[in-house]
């Protein structure tokens, strides 16, 4: 059953099958972002919140397609999901995590600064993240804020640094055996 190295399929790294112009095509989350592939689970407001928070967590998150990544994973069978949330014993469906978390984050920014997250300056962004990192902020109405911090931070690191492009940015070789194949959805 063992495979020799040359038999391995080599394709795009974190490629996901997105529906575009009526057919399923294989794109990385970053390509999906660049092509403005429509979202299937998250609404426009949720996408904006997600991208804004992840951008504070790690700049480059939006362009790396963090929202397309999360949106896609929320649409698949949870056992096939690639979200790190799986490790944290949060029972699926994972929309029951992301929806209330994104709503609570949006509200928190208003409570703390009377501003949308995307309008926070650097110092405010830092205070905003510190407010959720270690404990629930007052009146938090969502799954635990530190879990939200960990999950969104991991999602961000997955798309920014967990891909061959990410390894390249870090100056280390990817050395894959098999990259995810075309046609998976």
């Amino acid at each position: 059953m063992a495979l020799s190295r040359r038999e391995f399929v080599k394709k795009g790294s974190l490629s996901l099958s997105f529906a575009l112009a009526g057919s399923n095509i294989l794109l990385s989350p970053a390509e999906a972002y660049a092509k403005e592939v429509p979202f299937t689970v998250l609404n426009a407001g949720e996408v904006l919140t997600l991208e804004s928070v992840c951008e504070i967590l790690l700049s480059g998150a939006t362009e790396s397609g963090v929202a397309h990544f999360v949106d896609h994973q929320l649409g698949v069978d949870p056992n096939d999901s690639l979200l790190v949330l799986k490790y944290f014993s949060f029972p699926p469906p994972y929309t029951d995590f992301y929806r209330p978390v994104l709503a609570a984050l949006k509200e928190l920014s208003q409570t703390m600064f009377s501003k949308n997250i995307q309008s926070l300056n650097e110092q405010q962004g830092r205070e905003f993240i510190e407010a959720i990192r270690d404990k629930n902020p007052p009146d938090w109405k969502a799954p635990p804020a530190p879990l939200a911090y960990l999950a969104l931070r991991n999602d961000t690191v997955d798309v920014v640094y967990g891909t061959p492009e990410g390894f390249k940015k870090l100056g280390v070789p990817y050395m894959e055996h098999i990259l995810p194949p075309e046609g998976w959805s």
């Binding site: 038999e7 997955d158 990259l179």
Partner: protein, 521 residues
């Protein structure tokens, strides 16, 4: 409801333990079927990506937890062909003789129903079957055993630098014993040290179940079926013999698989869950549970990872995920807080996921995180200590009042460390920082506690009033019902469990074939 044709042996699960039972029983001429709850999987489904590796984990919950110290079920369990073992790191040290006589020697823990010498020939046979790499002489703490068939795994600068830290504290290190091929072996290619073991090694260099024992089982005629969610072991009207298992397919249809012998290898949590769910009027407390011991003595190794930041290129991106070097210098159980401890040294690192570079400093974000990633991707070191978890009856699996979609109650885990274990954890975390600093790191820090290798819950012993199985993993109450996996271990040692799971399954499978007529009578 559908009834399948009766077989000699039905094995529940397709992971580490199942694969050994299936191969040996099928090779002995028995008709064997393996029922796996998860998906069918091939080696070329194992993509090199820490993100994609999460497909190997369960999302649907099987277990609730009310623990002071979590057993880390989701991290440790896996699903689909190969089970958790499909992406295990293949660090394979042996149990020590004293682990199996803990109660007699120290008045703590429990005794195994046999001594090390009984298991030794199976360890030797398994290491030859799978092709282990190591240096038996340099492992000065290693119990008696044949030398490894292959030379040690790769050592990069990562291992060399950390070894200096251990040496400075007078702690010897050795190459880490691994079920990974350092050279081609029995038609399989050698490892190329790219560090993708956690995502599952597709080349056959690492002895996961799809590489050695499942191919042998299939070649000898065993069948393996995916999407079979086993819920109950069925018994005869007297309740003395297992007659097969009940399972549900992914469409929710109920099936029965009858067999002369039932082997439960559904991992440490699911085995007691199935037994407790198999209660009948003859076994009101659950099957094989006349002693009340099913589910008790759950153990999960406390683990702590010590990290360092160095100015030089550590070559931390090459090697096997499980590490390059080992020390069991602090194995003696009575040096300080009671229990054994080992360090697995120089784990190959990737940027993301739970054990990745980013998570080692979960507090950082923004530009601080960018800077840390850049520096850590060549300069960070990693080593993990595994600590003995003492068996305690109150650490247990029960049935929850929540049910899954087949109406089967979820497992409920309750687990906390012994005070000695907590002390040993803190001593170990402190020691880790000293070693890293002695190796020349400009910064040293450690992780919060984790849990590795879940064991216990269906422990073996001589006495049917305080154990679930005998020394051959046959249930005392139902001798044609056999348990596979670390669930039968009465003590946890501090060593990774999978080598011993293999050796124990081989011992039990030999016993079954040699005593078949009596057992199925």
């Amino acid at each position: 409801m559908s009834k399948n044709e009766k077989v000699d042996v039905v094995i529940v699960g397709s992971g580490a333990a199942s694969s050994v039972y299936a191969a040996l029983l099928a090779e002995a001429g028995k008709s064997v079927v393996m029922l796996e709850k998860g998906t069918a999987r091939k080696l070329d489904d194992l993509y090199s990506s820490q993100t994609w590796a999460r497909r190997l984990k369960w999302a649907t919950p099987h277990m609730m937890e009310e623990s002071k110290d979590s057993i880390w079920y989701n991290f440790n369990a896996g699903h689909g062909y190969g089970g958790a073992a499909i992406h295990h790191y293949a660090v394979w040290p042996r149990y020590h003789p004293e682990d199996m006589k803990e109660l007699s020697l120290y008045g703590k823990g429990l005794d195994w129903p046999f001594e090390y010498d009984v298991l030794r020939p199976y360890y030797d046979q398994i290491q030859s079957d799978v092709g282990m790499s190591g240096d038996a002489e340099k492992e000065i703490w290693r119990p008696a055993g044949d030398p490894y068939p292959l030379p040690p795994v790769l050592q990069s600068n990562h291992g060399t630098v950390l070894a200096k830290g251990f040496a400075a504290l007078d702690q010897p290190t050795s190459p880490i014993p691994m079920a990974i091929l350092s050279q081609p072996y029995k038609g399989r290619d050698a490892c190329i040290w790219d560090g993708w073991c956690d995502a599952g090694c597709p080349t056959g260099a690492l002895a996961n179940p799809l590489v050695v024992f499942i191919p042998r089982a299939l070649k000898a005629g065993a069948m393996m079926k995916p999407d079979c969610h086993v819920t109950r072991v069925m018994t005869d009207t007297k309740g003395e013999r297992a007659t097969g298992v009940e399972y549900f397919d992914s469409k929710g249809e109920r099936h029965e698989q009858h067999a002369d012998v039932v082997v439960l290898c559904a991992f440490t949590i699911e085995n007691p869950r199935i037994l407790l769910n198999s209660a009948t009027d003859k076994h009101a407390k659950g099957l094989a549970n006349s002693s009340g011991t099913v589910g008790k003595y759950i153990m999960s190794h406390p683990a702590v990872t010590a990290f360092g930041m160095f100015d030089e290129d550590m070559q931390n991106y090459i090697g096997a995920t499980g590490g390059q070097l080992l020390t069991q210098h602090r194995f003696p159980k009575e040096e300080g807080a009671f229990g054994s401890q080992q360090w697995e040294i120089a784990l190959a690192l990737k940027p993301n996921d739970l054990l990745g570079i980013a998570m080692s400093r979960a507090d950082l974000f923004g530009n601080d995180l960018h800077r840390f990633m850049k520096e850590g991707s060549r300069g960070m070191s990693s080593m993990v200590a595994v600590i003995e978890d003492l068996p305690q009856a109150e650490n247990r699996i029960e049935l929850s009042d929540k049910k899954d979609k087949y109406g089967m109650p979820l497992a409920l885990a309750k687990h906390s460390w012994h005070d000695e274990t907590r002390k040993l954890f803190h001593e170990t975390a402190k020691e880790g920082l000293e070693i890293i600093k002695a190796a020349g790191a400009k910064e040293a820090w450690h992780s919060p506690p984790g849990g590795q290798h879940i064991m216990g819950g269906t422990i073996m012993g001589h006495d049917p009033t305080n154990s679930v199985t005998n020394e051959n993993a046959q249930c005392h109450d139902v001798p044609n019902l056999v348990m596979g996996g670390g669930g039968v271990f009465p003590t946890s040692s501090c060593v990774n469990s999978t080598y011993t799971i293999h050796a124990m399954a081989m011992k039990s499978a030999h016993h079954l074939t040699e005593n078949w007529a009596t057992i199925v009578k």
